[in-house]
Symmetry: C2
């Protein structure tokens, strides 16, 4: 006889629910399904030879330190490299004490949520936005307000009207979460003018900006404006980024740039969560920055993804029904599509999987689970052949059900 | 002008306080102080040559997978190796779905606390116990009850009287947290008889056992009884252990063995916390298990630590005042000492640091911050010379202040 765990779980645990969609997508693992659902980088972008050399050198010279425990906020030499690397996004004047290393940027988002959000606090997000950020924030039960994104980023007028309304209520917005560059899933980049307007608004309404710059180095068309953090004179911006798209997701390395007091609080929390991030992978990434391996590899990654985006966009034009719209991303890894209003992409998913293609129903990317007729399509991981075939399969399905 | 963060922090954050002791000990970094305060393994125990070979092979054969995202519960081949490795602790019949990989065992403890504890819930801990576990649990504001440890482990009679009292109150104990083997900081191992009594008691009073087996493979004197999990017929035991002491802490790898339903909840939570643990270090450890690198290295680690323990014990006998008592650990990395009742080891620490030696004041290891006259002394990391010198310095200081 084994016990039932139900009675032992905390109230918070009992509120968490397994996502049916995740369960569905898990079923496709190992099956002959073309997955446009993931968010995996193309393994061809991994600088294998350079990493191999770095590993040899670490195991010859720094193995004692690289295999040992290390400081909670991150390995000092890595933090120093990260402070310099930030300059490639226009962010100057960051010292080691402004840098914090996290176990992927997911951990940074989780800890920022724990540090800032009390249940019922207002949190403003883009609509749509990164699904795993929404879930990290949900662990603190905030009140979400969504701001639509336009071709040139967040709709600043809607944002201001929300800030005004919440202020009039006598409440305050704890933070505005934005992915200003090559937005996930929208694929758009916020203009320099809007960035300036956003930071001025944050100051006027006394709120914080959490800037997720995961794709800041992956803009393959047009300009990549400086990070919002580069315009930050009042330390209102908590900046986070990741090595998952520019080196290797298997290293689980993300980082935060913020004011020192905030970094110290992150450090206190991380002591409880996981003590510190892998010393070994931090040593690898520090060397990859110091030797310019990351920097020199970026043009190649951008080219690979631009080509794959073009293949997907062409396939969409050739195969999707006339009433479908889709983003033409200037960077990143995803196309976002709006299909016929009559369709619910979550309900369509099981049939798509049967036909051999997977995608993420778009409603997961909306804080209020709207956007039932949307879907996110990944172009970074599948081969070009798979992209064509996957979009063909999906196109026929949409035509059939429209 | 920069903003003040104070007004943005969540209520929970404002409750967290920096530990003065941690701040003090941080000041010693890079200074000429012999640290008996840490918990670092001896780098000589790292199987450097074998890891080097494994890295070469991964970068030749599995680099595409090892550098990529991986499943939240852990890399399947690693989970399989862990299920087998559990048999070395007497734990049989564990399948892949009973195994969960965490970012060090710290993350396992943190997530177990989030999943199980509601504020005010009873949690029973050993007194003294592992300080970072106490802190992880404190994030959920439990009511702690402490049970003293004896030469042969937890005082089972005190435990039962507490369970009885709490039951009579109409309450329930959510979990009993125990480090039954080479206890940290106590250094004692619970007998087989007491393990059986403990699990029967957990069944009788319907509670869970969280078994921290961090030192299960590091018993260098006498028997290492099977894990409590090995005696578990009702899936009441949530078992956790770590690679930090048997391979490398820099990899940040821990694991949990538990009933499938519980593993699924951990997985849901980990999606929010950090998506998954480093794929790359999981591949290394999986190979280190498959090639018996970990298993074959254990006798060497035990011998190194037994020798160092002997050096510390001898130095204690030669240098500490007559009214001091200390544990004679049968495994692990620490000696725990009780000095004169008149002394407060936390207040003594700044003077000790000035004299060139650091330790952890013992009160941090007590849920109620009692044990003011105790200290934890690490023998795994310092050299034998440092151990002698450090204990000498501390001995003179104690004699002076007693």
């Amino acid at each position: 006889m084994t016990i039932r765990f139900e009675s032992f779980f905390s109230a918070q645990t009992r509120l968490m629910r397994a996502s049916e969609i995740r369960d569905l997508l898990k079923l496709t693992e190992g099956r002959d399904v073309i997955s446009l659902a993931g968010g995996l980088p193309d393994p061809e972008t991994f600088p294998r030879e350079e990493i191999k050399k770095i590993l040899e050198d670490i195991m010859s010279n720094n193995w004692r330190e690289a295999l040992q425990y290390s400081a909670t906020a991150g390995v000092a030499s890595f933090r120093k490299e990260l402070a310099s690397f930030s300059e490639t996004r226009g962010i100057k004047g960051q010292g080691v004490s402004n840098v914090f290393v996290s176990t992927g940027s997911q951990e940074a988002l989780f800890m920022i949520a724990q540090l800032l959000i009390d249940p019922g606090d207002y949190v403003i997000v883009e609509s749509p936005t990164y699904l795993a950020a929404l879930n990290a924030f949900r662990t603190r039960s905030p009140r979400f307000e969504g701001v639509p994104i336009e071709e040139d980023g967040m709709d600043i007028e809607v944002l201001e009207s929300k800030l005004k309304r919440i202020k009039a209520e006598g409440s305050k917005v704890k933070m505005i979460y934005t992915i200003p560059t090559a937005q996930n899933p929208g694929g758009v980049t916020m203009t320099y003018q809007k960035r300036k307007a956003l930071i001025e608004m944050a100051s006027r309404y006394d709120t914080l900006i959490v800037e997720d710059d995961a794709y800041g180095h992956l803009v393959f068309e047009g300009e990549s404006p400086p990070a919002i953090k580069a315009l930050d004179k009042e330390e209102r911006v908590i900046y986070t980024s990741t090595f998952s798209k520019i080196l290797s997701p298997g290293f689980r390395l993300g980082w935060v740039l913020a004011e020192e007091e905030f970094i110290r609080e992150l450090e206190l929390m991380k002591q409880n969560v996981d003590l510190h991030t892998s010393t070994f992978t931090q040593y690898i990434a520090a060397e990859a920055l110091r030797r310019n391996v990351v920097q020199n590899n970026l043009p190649r990654i951008r080219q690979i993804y631009r080509e794959k985006r073009d293949v997907m966009i062409e396939a969409l034009q050739d195969n999707f029904p006339g009433d479908t719209k889709w983003s033409r991303p200037v960077g990143g890894m995803f196309v976002f599509a709006w299909v016929s209003q009559k369709l619910d992409t979550a309900k369509l998913l099981p049939t798509a999987l049967e036909r051999g293609v997977a995608y993420v129903p778009g409603s997961s990317f909306f804080h209020d689970f709207s956007g039932k007729n949307t879907m996110r399509l990944n172009f970074s991981f599948p081969t070009k052949e798979q992209l064509k075939k996957g979009i063909q399969l999906l196109g026929s399905l949409l035509k059939e059900f429209s």
